[in-house]
């Protein structure tokens, strides 16, 4: 599986990259990819997201520099921004012999193991996919699958500044407490540290080897295949 670390990136171009890689993966022209990044502030509405899930007007949010997207993934409203690790696996579930539910469970497991490495106890809540701590939700999942190839993925709060979840009704659940790993871990943690731990956890949970290439190499290669 090819790992690409994109650093801090705006939502639109990464969505476009995901859609491109997803379509190429379905045509079997690429291997599986794992995109790893943090986003500039953005609110996305999944398939069951509603405008009422925004607690500020779209104008106000845009003035604050927050972008808003309606996207195809499962779930309702969520926030991405600096201090949150986002992983977008573009992978063929059949290649790994995974069903959709098992896939979601494995994404949860990646976050639970990452928490464990930081001495933060995270767990699943049946019927509420994600990674939970007793103080609130830490990790979020929203997935889209076509032709058994996935995109979108998971988001894990590391040290959110600002905590943009205050501007929305997260996951369609009013009052849902949202917390970050840095406030839960006895020694604190940084995004770079969590990113490394999450990649190791991903590799172990999915049983895949991650081979990193640079974003520049990805773009060059996409340009070559037209």
């Amino acid at each position: 599986m090819v790992l690409v670390r994109l650093g801090r990136a705006p939502y639109g171009p990464v969505l476009e990259l995901q859609r491109r890689l997803h379509s190429l993966r379905r045509e079997r022209k690429t291997p599986d990819f794992l995109l790893s990044l943090e986003h500039e502030p953005v609110i996305t509405l999944g398939r069951v997201g509603r405008n009422e899930d925004l607690l500020l007007s779209q104008d106000e949010l845009r003035r604050m520099g927050v972008e808003i997207y309606t996207v195809e993934r499962g779930g309702a409203a969520t926030y991405h921004g600096p201090g949150q690790l986002v992983l977008y696996p573009i992978l063929d579930l059949r290649g790994l012999g995974l069903g959709v539910r098992e896939y979601v469970r494995q994404l949860e497991e990646v976050m639970i193991r990452t928490g464990k490495a930081l001495a933060v106890e995270l767990f699943r809540r049946p019927g509420y996919p994600g990674a939970w701590h007793r103080k609130g939700k830490v990790g979020f999942i929203g997935v889209y699958v076509r032709g058994w190839v996935t995109f979108h993925g998971l988001a894990l709060n590391v040290d959110l500044r600002p905590n943009g979840f205050a501007w929305i009704v997260p996951c369609g659940a009013p009052g849902l407490p949202v917390v970050s790993l840095a406030e839960l871990s006895p020694d604190g943690c940084t995004l770079a540290e969590v990113e490394g731990l999450a990649h190791s956890a991903f590799s172990a949970v999915f049983g895949v080897e991650l081979v990193e290439i640079s974003p520049r190499e990805v773009w060059a290669w996409l340009n070559r295949i037209g």
Partner: protein, 75 residues
């Protein structure tokens, strides 16, 4: 031909989220016709045949893998 919700692996029931093609509309083999959701995953159902889409189940229905959500009739 029935448009079937495939076996998604350990999923007992899904929500028929939305139709991407209308009742009576022509569809191609492999064309995306519907989206179902389970556990925050949206799964796209593609048409198994070319034809006309009929007898669509309403959006919001709870359906089980193996169940038909519409028919694709020869056009």
């Amino acid at each position: 031909m029935d448009l079937i919700v495939p076996d998604l692996g350990e999923v007992e029931e899904v929500t028929l989220l939305r139709w991407l093609k209308g009742e009576g509309e022509e569809v191609e083999v492999g064309e995306a016709v519907a989206e179902v959701e389970a556990d925050k995953a949206v799964f796209v159902i593609e048409s198994p045949a070319a034809g006309i889409l009929r007898s669509r189940r309403p959006e919001g229905s709870r359906v089980r893998p193996g169940e038909a959500i519409a028919q694709v009739l020869p056009g």
